[in-house]
Amino acid sequence: MSAPHNPSQQGNLYIIDAGSGPEWVRQMDMNQLITRQMGGPFPQHHDVSHISRVLDLACGPGGWVLDVAFAYPSIEVVGIDISEAVIRYGQSRAKVQRLDNAYFHIMDLLQPFDIPDDSFDVINARFLSSLLPASCWLALLQECHRITRPGGSIYITEMELNLTNGSASGQLFEVYTQAIKLAGYGFSPNRVHLGLTPMLAHFLHEACYQDITPQAHLIDFSTGTKVHEAFSENLRLLYQLIQPFIIKMGVATAEELNLLHEQATLEMFADDFCAWNLLISVFGTKP
């Protein structure tokens, strides 16, 4: 997923540059990790036999779109993102994989979608917390409800919490949550978590979705686990990429962040490093 290109829309508060090569790679890695941890692109035990069209919001380089298009040739998968460059890249990936059921379009989550009512059986969104200002969530979900077919579903997944025994790792997460809170993202009353996922069920209800169900996935990336290296590397890269944003928000200086980053890396290298990430998905159905 990509941050808006138009600075005027967000008061020039990019969290990560949308045109950034490292960020695309980080997102592709993260998509693979998360999809494997969640047991596939769709929630486990979800009946996909009647799904014919699905939409992925802020699709970024298109990892989820292409995974679904590959695994389910009869499903038409559409990814939307505001970045023209990332859409072009997604199209290029679909072309070389010869996935003629994957489509990518430029679209802004903050504007009404150019999509007819009742168009999709499933709408999927992962990690919008750093893209969507807190004040825009309800309007987005109402728009999603409009384009969801009766009987269709919405899946939203966010990474809410980073629990660790690493002092610097914990501080980096706090600095991050503080910065995005200042920029108007998330609903956290403190710096410990994003505070978004408890609100999702509320917003889905407000947007007239029913059968709203939360589901938690705990990702243990402590030293010695299978995903330790991949997750740690992804997190270290994330902290590097958001550094300009944190400095811009005045939460920490470059020197402080460099020091924290190096300490956090050493913590993650240690044999006794323990860390869990809490992923929370919330599902809703349109009656």
Binding site: G19, S20, P22, W24, V25, M28, D29, L66, Q97
Partner: protein
């Protein structure tokens, strides 16, 4: 005695022998049960698109199905990978060159190797193995030598794979020496292929897993100097036909953008040693990270603090020394 299915039609017939499975396949492919029955009976052949979809639906039977299909459709059907549109198959899309150059321009030098190399690996993997039959691609980089020394090994620095190599989201980080396929490609500065590892065509030693059926290695070159190689392994024998080799070479050329000038070495600056097996190396790498932490702590205590990059470099050199020594001991004991 049960007779084993002989060709893809018989295999498919067995796979869809239950009504539930038959319904799943017809729904997924959007075909009628009559069409499916005609394929199984040998009355008609599926379209290219449906062949690809069929292989995706039975990942555990892909090898058996595709081998038989290749025999039957030889010359006019290659699962859409060869004849459908040669220009699209054999060339990197122009859009992707643009994306790489944009990333090159926007990426800070500290992240350049990792992000450009992985960006290219993702595209190469998806392009070379669109049906996800099983492929692993790694970049083995010349290990920068200590001052005054020559390059003595390559090291797997980044890798990406589809099943059964799904876990290679992280490179294993092992060293390759002259005993390896990667090392030999660097020495010859030419692309090398092993088309069929299961039929004893190994004429150059190669470290591979049980899943590897064919492998290709292409050196990363700039102005006559070499920085390492791109090595791709496939679960399919004979997978690297000339058009695929040409494509890998194009991605390898693009990969050179990820490297700095100082990463390239002339042939006289390279003198690869022999590295021990993967299993032996893994034992030495088990405390790799802890060793980096220890080196940094010692450096700080001796009032000469080191950065993480410097400490990692020191540990890698130490490991390289140890592993080359292990090989020497092995060779000596073998000759005795």
């Amino acid at each position: 005695m049960k007779v084993e299915p002989q060709n893809w039609r018989e295999i498919l017939g067995e796979l869809v022998s239950t009504p539930q499975e038959k319904e799943r396949v017809t729904n997924e492919l959007g075909i009628t049960s009559i069409t499916l029955s005609r394929w199984i009976a040998g009355v008609s052949i599926p379209r290219v698109q449906n062949v690809r979809h069929l292989l995706r639906l039975f990942p555990e039977h892909r090898e058996a199905l595709s081998q038989s299909m290749r025999k039957e459709f030889s010359g006019f059907l290659d699962f859409g990978s060869e004849e459908t549109s040669p220009s699209e198959i054999e060339n990197i899309p122009a859009n992707f060159y643009t994306s790489v150059l944009e990333a090159f321009r926007a990426t800070p030098s500290s992240l350049r190797f990792w992000s450009i190399a992985k960006f290219i690996l993702y595209q190469a993997l998806e392009h070379l193995d669109p049906s996800r039959l099983g492929m692993d691609i790694i970049v083995a980089k010349c290990t920068s030598p200590r001052p005054g020394q020559k390059v003595r090994s390559l090291r797997e620095t980044i890798g990406l794979g589809t099943s059964p190599w799904l876990d290679s989201l992280e490179a294993k980080g092992i060293f390759y020496g002259i005993e390896s396929f990667a090392g030999y490609a660097v020495y010859t500065r030419h692309s090398l292929i092993m088309r069929n590892l299961t039929h004893n065509e190994i004429y150059v030693p190669v470290q591979h897993t049980e899943s590897t059926a064919s492998v290709v290695a292409c050196p990363i070159l700039r102005a006559g100097c070499v920085a390492g190689c791109v090595m791709a392994s496939s679960t399919q024998s004979g997978y690297f036909v000339p058009s695929k080799l040409a494509l890998i070479e194009k991605y390898t050329d693009l990969m050179s953008l990820a490297f700095a000038d100082s990463d390239f070495y002339s042939l006289e600056d390279i003198e690869l040693g022999t590295m021990p097996s993967y299993q032996i190396q893994m034992k030495h790498f088990s405390d790799f990270r802890q060793r980096i932490v220890n080196v940094m702590k010692q450096a700080t205590m001796s009032k000469h603090p080191m950065t993480l990059v410097e400490a990692e470099q020191r540990v890698l050199h130490d490991l390289e020394d140890e592993l080359l020594q292990v090989s020497n001991v092995e060779e000596t004991s073998t000759s005795i």
